[in-house]
């Protein structure tokens, strides 16, 4: 069965009423848990998992997948409106989405995010149908050396995300890298910076870090503003929509973001958080007006949102085609498949074509539902800003606590999120960019693990990074970027 025949066959599975209704339920639920800060797809899917015993395998998987990609839509809402990322992968959307909201253009930002999310997903699905075989082979061909080189390129490329003040940006990236070192060292089994806390053996919880840096810090920052109840005036529907000029700034960033997202999502271990950062960095690099970024650039919303949605779709490639889950959520999806007697992997396409193509077709239907659901919701989300701070912020703190606790039922993480919130507040007072800390935190352990693994496998020979062609290409690109930035700095100095 070729890709398109398979997809058509899948549509017949996904449009069965008994499957369709669970698809709709999944995406609606996903949107809402995505909006709530901290409570994400991970917690929701693990809560739903035992319930799926009573469903048909198709309905169960379609629903769980719907929660996953639906949450990517919702994640942007609180990022834009309140500078509170609903999910870690939408953290980068705060950079330009929130300034837009402050300028009274929240509706435009939300519209951009929804449209980009939809385009990103659709492109992701297209890539999945046409290129899933090639992507699966690429995932196998990627060894430790390639991963390490690619992550280094990613780190170099994205370190310029908030490049108003290079020294401060660098400081944040490095702090993130250092925090990423906390926990058990994979190679030696040594506990690093855990101070004897068993809870820190697996490292600092990513959700606690993201929610603390953005969520709790933002709530603290608004305490003194609590009485300044700046209730925005009621906005007409017309003002929610972008102007023609703004509309024209969406397609290309969304397309670029989706391409980046499709690629990175398909590689196990990279995931959608990184792809949204890279999409942002890419938009900023190629823009003719890089100074607009951070002040409400449409491109800064469109690129990352398309990227994380495309990545959410293509993350199914290694999971389904290789049986290799790329992130903890995909591992959970894999578990769900196994519970229902479906073994994902090289044999799945032959053994269970109904399941494989039905799931992929349901992505298309689910995303269409998400678009139809979310466009009318924009007005309602914007009116959320009218809730007085004294009600909104305590509620947010409760949701953050629930969300962080739900990750692994740890009260330690709740104290951690409070502490990280204070640190995040201090950082924002000093005008540091917490998004870069998050980036360093996510990339650091991946770079370290893969770099050391590559060296171990090569029996200690560092030339491995130049002998393997893909790795060498990434390394050269990274070196090129560094040289380019240096040249820019020197030129500016010469002119001054």
């Amino acid at each position: 069965m070729s890709g398109w025949d398979g997809f058509l066959h899948g549509l017949s599975v996904a449009t069965q009423p008994g499957v369709l209704i669970y698809c709709a339920f999944g995406v609606v639920l996903g949107t809402f848990v995505g909006v709530l800060p901290g409570i994400g797809a991970m917690a929701t899917i693990s809560l739903l998992l035992p319930i799926t015993y009573y469903l048909s395998p198709e309905a169960a998987l379609v629903m769980l997948a719907g929660v996953y990609y639906g949450s990517q839509y919702g994640g942007a809402v609180a990022s834009i409106l309140l500078r509170l990322p609903g999910t870690p992968q939408s953290a980068v959307t705060t950079l330009d989405g929130y300034p837009l909201a402050q300028q009274g253009r929240a509706g435009v930002a939300l519209f951009t995010s929804m449209i980009s999310s939809f385009s990103g997903s659709m492109i992701g699905i297209f890539v999945l149908i046409v290129l899933s075989g090639a992507l699966a082979r690429a995932a196998i061909a990627f060894g430790a050396a390639e991963y390490a080189a690619m992550m280094i390129l990613g780190l170099v490329a994205a370190s310029t995300v908030g490049a108003k003040d290079p020294a401060k940006s660098l400081a944040m990236v490095v702090l993130g890298l250092i925090l990423g070192c906390v926990g058990t060292d994979v190679n030696s089994g040594v506990q690093r910076f855990t101070f004897g806390q068993t809870e820190l053996m697996d490292g600092i919880n990513l959700v606690a870090l993201a929610m603390g840096l953005f969520g709790v810090a933002e709530v603290i920052a608004n305490i003194h503003a609590a009485e300044r109840t700046g209730v925005p005036p009621r906005v007409a529907l017309r003002e929610l929509l972008p102007s023609r000029a703004e509309l024209r700034r969406i397609p290309f960033p969304a397309l670029r973001g989706a391409s980046l997202g499709s690629f990175f999502g398909a590689l196990p271990g990279t995931g959608s958080t990184i792809s949204s950062f890279l999409a942002y960095a890419a938009e900023r690099r190629i823009s003719r007006h890089p100074d607009r970024f951070g002040k409400g650039a449409i491109e800064g919303v469109a690129g990352p949102e398309a990227a994380n949605n495309a990545a959410a779709i293509s993350a199914f490639v290694p999971t389904l085609a290789l049986g290799i889950p790329g992130d903890p959520i995909m591992a959970l999806m894999l578990g769900a498949l196994v519970i229902h007697g479906v073994q994902p992997g090289p044999l799945m396409l032959e053994a269970r074509p109904d399941m494989f193509w039905g799931l992929i077709a349901s992505f298309g239907i689910g995303n269409l539902l998400l678009l139809i659901l979310n466009l009318p919701l924009i007005g309602i989300w914007v009116s959320m800003l009218r809730i007085p701070f004294r009600w909104l912020y305590p509620a947010i703190l409760i949701f953050v606590c629930l969300g962080v606790y739900s990750v692994r039922g740890s009260s330690f993480d709740m104290f951690a999120v409070a502490l990280i919130g204070l640190v995040g507040y201090a950082l924002s007072l000093a005008r540091f960019n917490p998004a870069l800390l998050l980036l360093g935190f996510v990339l650091g352990p991946l770079i370290e693990t893969n770099l050391r693994r590559a060296l171990l496998i090569a029996r200690g020979d560092p030339m491995v990074f130049l002998q393997r062609p893909l790795a060498a290409a990434f390394m050269i690109a990274a070196a090129g970027l560094i040289v380019m930035s240096l040249v820019q700095v020197i030129r500016r100095r010469m002119r001054a």
Partner: protein
């Protein structure tokens, strides 16, 4: 919910003040039971726990709440069981690590296996298989050992982390076979499998369920299994013990057990052991476990005690060997 739970705890505390602490309440179990699992929902230790606790709840006539407290290789689940206020209604299921190797590998473990933990029953065991890529030059264990013995570190193997079952089994194997292999730690079997298929590393020990479908797809081959007897889920795979110069008692298995805090009433442990053995004898339960790659076990609390002591010794010696190499 937090309030009501606190109220329940206060109530329980008040009741327990009224009577001698150690006397067995004939009405046990009079309230919902809690079973801690040190792995996330949907993971294989979690699924095993659910397979056993569903019928167990029916037998006890009380609901059983699974508390997933993942982290530190399952150690956090055991710690949380011991930290629970109500030590008569709180139990855990755990893999072998937290009871055997954790005292060596985890600083500030916070518990002493011998003093703080009362074994209840062994639930299930899982052997490991030695896996190589389909194009690996040797087709049997003897050929593999020959290739590995050419020079130290001639072959590299993947594991799911230092001190993991996959790591320790490979080191036990190397020791018994008289070879030295290069250890490359990964974090999941999926990563190890990819690295073997991609010819980045040469081999690895893993659960049969993680390998079988790649064998069927013609990408991997299995050279042997670490159990005493052939395993139904790995048909045609030869037992390693006694082969190619390996000793007859060569055995390495992961296991999963039901445990209680040491303060648990012995009568409660006896009840639980009887019920769990009855559940494990059920064909449907055995089949569900086997489908996940686990062999239902069972036996007395003393059997489990022996198993813990035995494995602590075997793996302790392997850890000594690993530490001596560094």
């Amino acid at each position: 919910m937090i309030m009501s739970r606190r109220a329940a705890l206060l109530g329980a505390a008040a009741i327990s003040l009224c009577k001698p602490a150690m006397a067995q309440d004939a009405s046990w179990p009079s309230q919902p039971q809690h079973v801690f699992v040190g792995f996330p929902a949907g993971s294989s230790p979690d699924l095993l726990a659910r397979i056993v606790t569903e019928p167990l709840a029916d037998k006890l006539g009380q609901p059983i709440v699974i508390e997933n407290k993942p982290g530190a290789g399952g150690v956090i689940g055991v710690q949380q069981m011991l930290n629970a206020k109500d030590q008569q209604n709180t139990f855990a299921t755990t893999i072998n690590g937290p009871l055997t190797t954790a005292p060596r590998l985890t600083p500030n473990l916070g518990y002493d296996v011998a003093k703080d933990i009362a074994p209840v029953a062994l639930l299930a065991t899982s052997p490991l298989v030695l896996v190589v890529a389909a194009d690996f030059p040797a087709d049997d264990l003897a050929g593999f050992i020959k290739a590995a013995g050419k020079e130290p570190d001639a072959l590299a193997y993947g594991s799911v982390g230092k001190g993991s079952g996959a790591h320790l089994t490979a080191e036990l194997f190397s020791d018994r076979a008289g070879v030295e292999m290069l250890h490359i730690p990964f974090t999941s079997y999926a990563e190890v499998t990819t690295a073997i298929i991609g010819n980045e590393i040469d081999c690895g020990f893993m659960a049969p369920s993680a390998a079988m479908q790649y064998v069927q797809a013609g990408k991997l081959k299995i050279l042997g299994i670490t159990s005493e007897k052939p395993f139904a889920k790995a048909p045609g795979v030869p037992v390693m013990a006694g082969q190619a110069g390996l000793p007859d008692d060569f055995r390495a298995e992961l296991w999963n057990a039901f445990i209680a805090p040491a303060a648990t009433d012995p009568a409660v442990i006896k009840t639980l052991n009887t019920d769990i053995n009855a559940i494990l004898a059920d064909d449907a339960v055995q089949k569900r476990m086997l489908d996940m790659g686990w062999q239902a076990a069972g036996g007395s609390p003393e059997d489990l005690q022996k198993r813990i002591a035995q494995d602590t010794k075997v793996w302790g010696a392997v850890l000594d060997r690993i530490n001596a190499k560094q």
